[in-house]
Each structure stands twice: as C-alpha cells, then as structure tokens.
C-alpha cells in the first residue's frame, strides 16, 4: 500500500469509527455497551476521531504524500509534512509505513465496524448469564460503609440493585421482610433453587459490559414460570431466602407480567 493510500484509508476508518460512535449516542444504544457516565468521554473520542480523520483526509496534505508503494526516498507521511526529516538512526516503526503491518492494523481497527455490520447490536441478556455467573456472594458491600449508603426510597421504587444493596448493608435483613417489591428484570433459572422458584436478574455495569455483573432476587410464584431470559415485572411482598448460606431477598409474587425489553437494560451502581 502506498503511503498516500495508507493515510487515506486510515482517515476513512477513523471517520467511520467516529460516525459509528455518534450514531450509538444518537440512537441511545451506547448504554448497551458502556455506563452512561462515560458519555462525555465518548463524545470527545468520536469528535476527536472525526477531527483527526479530517486532517488525514485533507486533500492538500494528501497530495504531498508519495503515491508510490514503499518508496524509500519518499520517507514517511510525517517527513513529507515536516519538510525535512532526518532518517539516520531514526527507526520508523513508530510512524508506520507501507507494509503488511498497515493492512493488519487497518483490519483490526475496522473490526468494530465489521462486527457492528455483521452482528446486530444487542444488549447483554440472560443467555450470557450462565457464563458471567450470578453474583450471590454479598456483592456491593464494604466493611466501613460510609460512602455507599443504603437507599432510602419507598420500597416500591427500588430496583433490583438497590434491593440487593440494602440487603447486604442491613445488619439484620429481616427488617425488610413484608415490604412490597415492584421490580423489572429478566428471568434466570438457577439450578440451586427448588422448583417453583426462579431469579429475576439485572446486570450491573460499572464501566463497560466487560465488567457486567448479574444481580438478582429470588421469585416464588404460583403461576407457571415464564421462559428463561424473558423480561418480566414482578410485584409482591419480600421475605428472606438463601442460596447456599447467602441470604437473598425473595419476592412472594402476587403478579408476574411479561414486559417488553426496556431501552435501558442495565443498572449502574
């Protein structure tokens, strides 16, 4: 690949990556991948990539870049831009030149684009839970609980994360027994649970989906259990259950209704 081709194709890939990120922000699908806290950073990165792409694709600068593949005298894109560029003792691997490494890095950087085209975006769902593992082992606890407080909200408004957090903070979780829960999540069948019980779960995402962790409440329902990995809304009084020797909130379901998948599928600690 000639230096000019390299520069131009890199510019195009960066432009496309920037546009893909803007599109994710626009359509609200960014939160399927990262915590919304990183929105500002994503904006910055998208605009930065588009700006760099603009500089790489600048026609006046492109003209000054040699169009002949591997031309030894021509030097690097940086050199032709800087006017003079001393090559002695200066290894140019740092600013990549013509060579198969260019193809490799182009393909790798285009991979997020290719994946986005080939595999329709979808948030992490219950099918990933078997691999991710349900964190029943006292999540979100610290020994000196000062900064992450218990959530003082009416019980009907707490989400699964807040219920689990409150249960972990309470020195005696039975104070929550009898309160009414009204939560949404997806169903998950844990093999450790007896028949008639299942888990209503949500992923908690601190930064990006790579760190997603499933949290859940046990549901005891007289109705026929819904299919696995289905989104439901569960209402009913809360009592204590155990998985292993780990106390968990259990909902004595008064109603279990199927709902559409929410646009914001994760919870954020």
């Amino acid at each position: 690949m000639s230096d000019r081709m390299t520069r131009a194709s890199r510019g195009l890939v960066m432009l496309a990556l920037g546009v893909l990120m803007l599109q994710r922000i626009w359509t609200g699908t960014l939160i399927w991948f990262v915590n919304p806290r990183t929105l500002g950073l994503t904006w910055m990165a998208a605009l930065g990539m588009i700006a760099i792409a603009g500089s790489l694709l600048d026609v006046r600068k492109l003209r000054r870049v040699p169009a002949v593949a591997g031309s030894a005298a021509a030097g690097s894109t940086a050199a032709s831009e800087a006017g003079e560029h001393d090559h002695t003792g200066h290894d140019h691997a740092a600013h990549a030149h013509a060579g198969s490494g260019n193809y490799f890095s182009l393909v790798m950087l285009a991979l997020p684009l290719i994946m986005a085209l080939l595999v329709p975006s979808r948030p992490l769902d219950g099918s990933a839970l078997a691999n991710k593992g349900l964190n029943t082992a006292r999540p979100l606890v610290r020994s000196d609980a000062t900064s992450l407080k218990r959530v003082e909200k009416p019980p009907e408004q707490r989400n699964i994360l807040e219920w689990v957090r409150n249960f972990n903070y309470a020195s005696d979780a039975s104070v929550y027994a009898g309160e009414t829960a009204d939560v949404t999540g997806f169903t998950y069948f844990d093999t450790r649970l007896p028949a008639g019980q299942f888990i209503v779960a949500r992923y908690s995402v601190s930064c990006c989906v790579a760190d997603a962790m499933a949290l859940g409440m046990v549901v005891q329902s007289k109705q026929a259990a819904p299919a696995g990995n289905a989104w439901i809304r569960v209402r009913g009084p809360v009592s204590l259950a155990k998985i292993g020797d780990q106390p968990m909130p259990l909902i004595q379901a008064v109603s279990v209704e199927a709902i559409a998948e929410p646009t914001d599928p994760y919870l954020y600690p």
Binding site: A93, A94, A98, L118, S121
Partner: protein
C-alpha cells in the same frame, strides 16, 4: 529504507515470509486463500449474527457470538478515548519535548530514577491503554529503561483519577493504602531489576529504541517549524500510533471478550476463601476481565464482601499492570522475553504480598 512495523511481524509470521521465499505465484495463491477464508468467516459470522430461529447448537453459538460482539465493542468504546489521549500525548512529547530537557529532569541514580518513574503517573493521568504509547515515546526520547518500566507499571494505578475512584469505593483504609504502597513497591522493584545493565537494544523492540543523540528530526522541529506545522505533525503521529497501538488493543479486547464468552466465570466466584486460592482466582479474573484501571475499584468492591482482603488488593494492584489488553500492547514495545518478565515479576510479587496480607494481617 525498508521499515517494518511491529504489527507487521505478527502478520508476517503467518504468511508473508513463506510466500516471499516461495516466489510470486504462491504469494498470489496465499492471498486468494486468505481472501476466501475471510469471506467465508465473515459470511458465517453474518449468518450466525442475523439469521432468526436457528436450531439448537447454532442458536447457542449465535448467543455466544452476540455476547462476544457486545463485550468487544464495549471494551473498544470504553478504551478508545484513553487510547486517543495516550497517542496525542505521545505525539506532543515527540514534537515538543526535547531530549536534553527530558534528560535534565530524570534523576541520575537508579533508585531515585525508578521512584520518579513510579510517580510520573501524577503528571500523565492515563490508564493502561494510554500509558503504553506514551512510554514507548519516552523511550524514544531517551528515557532510561528502568524509569520507563516503573512508569509503565505504576502509572495506570497511581494517578489522581484512580486514587479518587478507589477512595470512593473503599474509603480511606487498608485497601487504598495497600494499593498505593504495593503498586509503588512492585514498580520500583521491577524497575530496579532492569537497571542492572539491561541494554535498550536487548529489551525493547526497535520501534522503542532511543533515537541517537542529535538524530531526531523532531528535536530540530522543536526549534524551527511554525506552530501549525508542528500541530499537524502531532496529529499525524497520533494517528499512526492510534492504528498501531489500537490494533494491539483490539487483539487484546478480542481475546478478553472471547474468553468471557467461552469460559464460565461462575467457577471463579466460588473460590473466595482460601488464602492462596482466592488470590489466584481474582488474579485470573483481573486478567480475563481486562477492566480499565479507572473503574476497577468498583468491581473489586463487589468481591470485597466475600473474597479475602489480600485477594482484593491483588486484584487492584495486578490488574492495572497486567491484563490481556496490556500484555498484547506490551508486545508492541518490548521483546517477547521482556514481556514475560513484565508479567511474571509483578505476578509473583503480587501473590507474595497478597498471601502475606491474608496470613499475617487481620484486615
């Protein structure tokens, strides 16, 4: 001048060298097969990704593929701002920082040098995605090996952002102090190991070798060129490096998300109590999850209730130094054997410290 990027060597191993030896016709054949391979791969990924109502085993593969794709893109979106910052910082250092100036600020003797390297992260608040390109550029500019290695290992954990997030998660206490102290200690020890006569040519890949005195064009540029031209060069260098380091980052992201999609982590969550086993479990998790160091404290918090304190500290100290992403990115700077040292030394030291905490300190 025949140049070879580091990325090239990865590709070259597979196909270019044999095909060059065999001559032109087979090069064309190899290329055709490669093309066919990629088209078939993309086709099957597309079918798995998009076809509705797949039969049993294929549906399972489709679920795994979606999981892989979502996590892969998540890591990319999360890492790309930091990669961009790191490469821009590298471009700025290349164009605006003079070798002689840099040399003046670095302490002469090894111990103070590595100490300076370890706390340099306070000046460059970058996580592991940004620190690698920056460290390579500093090596180019003649930063001594031991200082650079201490910087590389310590900076992702020892910077204001990470300390604030660790404080937010754990408060002021053993965990925060142990994270800071052990990170400095391990970075300093590893730096000192490399201060005993290790020569850059034997440790670093050519791309990171220091430029010979007086040989750097950019040093001349510092004095002569107009500002617009210098900025334009910063952007060009940043873009070059974005593609090179970005390709390592994405290889790492692909490996990490592949592992997450295929290997059940639920097994690891069960190993929470043994003084050694819990440490090993969280170390494996730190490597596999490849979480950005700016938020790993919140993840560690989730384990704090059930795992031993030593293992949580190990997660917070080792994770920023070594994970799949950073191992792949290190291999763009260091020779393979050095990468091995940079993984094994912090690993053994972390295990040692964490097991000591578990057995002897009642935290």
């Amino acid at each position: 001048m025949q140049t070879k990027t580091v990325g090239a060597s990865l590709v070259a191993k597979g196909d270019n060298i044999p095909s060059m030896l065999a001559g032109a016709p087979s090069f064309a054949t190899t290329r055709r097969w490669r093309l066919i391979f990629f088209v078939v791969l993309a086709g099957s990924v597309g079918v798995l990704g998009r076809a509705p109502n797949l039969p049993g085993p294929l549906a399972l593969m489709s679920d795994r593929l979606h999981m892989f794709s979502t996590i892969f893109q998540g890591i990319f979106i999360e890492a790309v701002p930091f990669l961009l910052l790191g490469t821009l910082a590298s471009g700025i250092v290349e164009v605006f920082v003079n070798r002689e100036e840099l040399a003046r600020y670095i302490p002469r003797d090894a111990v103070r040098g590595v100490m300076a390297g370890a706390v340099l992260g306070f000046c460059f608040p970058v996580c592991e995605c940004g620190v690698v390109p920056l460290a390579r550029r500093l090596f180019n500019k003649g930063m001594p090996l031991h200082v650079g290695i201490a910087f590389l290992l310590a900076a992702p954990a020892l910077n204001p952002i990470v300390i604030v997030s660790t404080y937010t998660a754990f408060g002021f206490g053993h965990v925060l102090l142990a994270r800071i102290g052990l990170t400095v200690l391990i970075a300093v020890i590893c730096g000192l190991v490399f201060s005993f006569g290790a020569r850059p040519e034997r440790v670093l890949l050519p791309a990171a070798w220091p430029v010979l005195a007086g040989g750097s064009a950019s040093d001349a540029l510092v004095k002569s060129a107009p500002m617009a031209q210098r900025l334009s060069q910063v952007v060009t260098i940043a873009a070059d490096e974005f593609f090179e380091m970005g390709s390592y980052l994405l290889v790492g992201a692909a490996l990490a998300s592949g592992l997450q999609a295929l290997v059940p982590q639920s097994l690891l969550l069960g190993l929470s109590t043994g003084p050694l086993l819990s440490v090993l479990a969280l170390l494996v998790l730190a490597v596999v999850l490849s979480i950005c160091s700016t938020v790993d404290a919140f993840i560690a918090l989730a384990f704090a209730g059930s795992f031993t304190t030593g293992s949580v500290v190990a997660f917070l100290v080792f994770g920023p130094m070594v994970d799949i992403k950073s191992i792949v990115m290190y291999s763009g700077v260091f020779k393979r054997r050095t990468v091995g040292y940079l993984v094994m030394l912090p690993l053994l030291l972390t295990i040692l410290a964490a097991v000591f905490i578990n057995l002897n300190l009642n935290w």
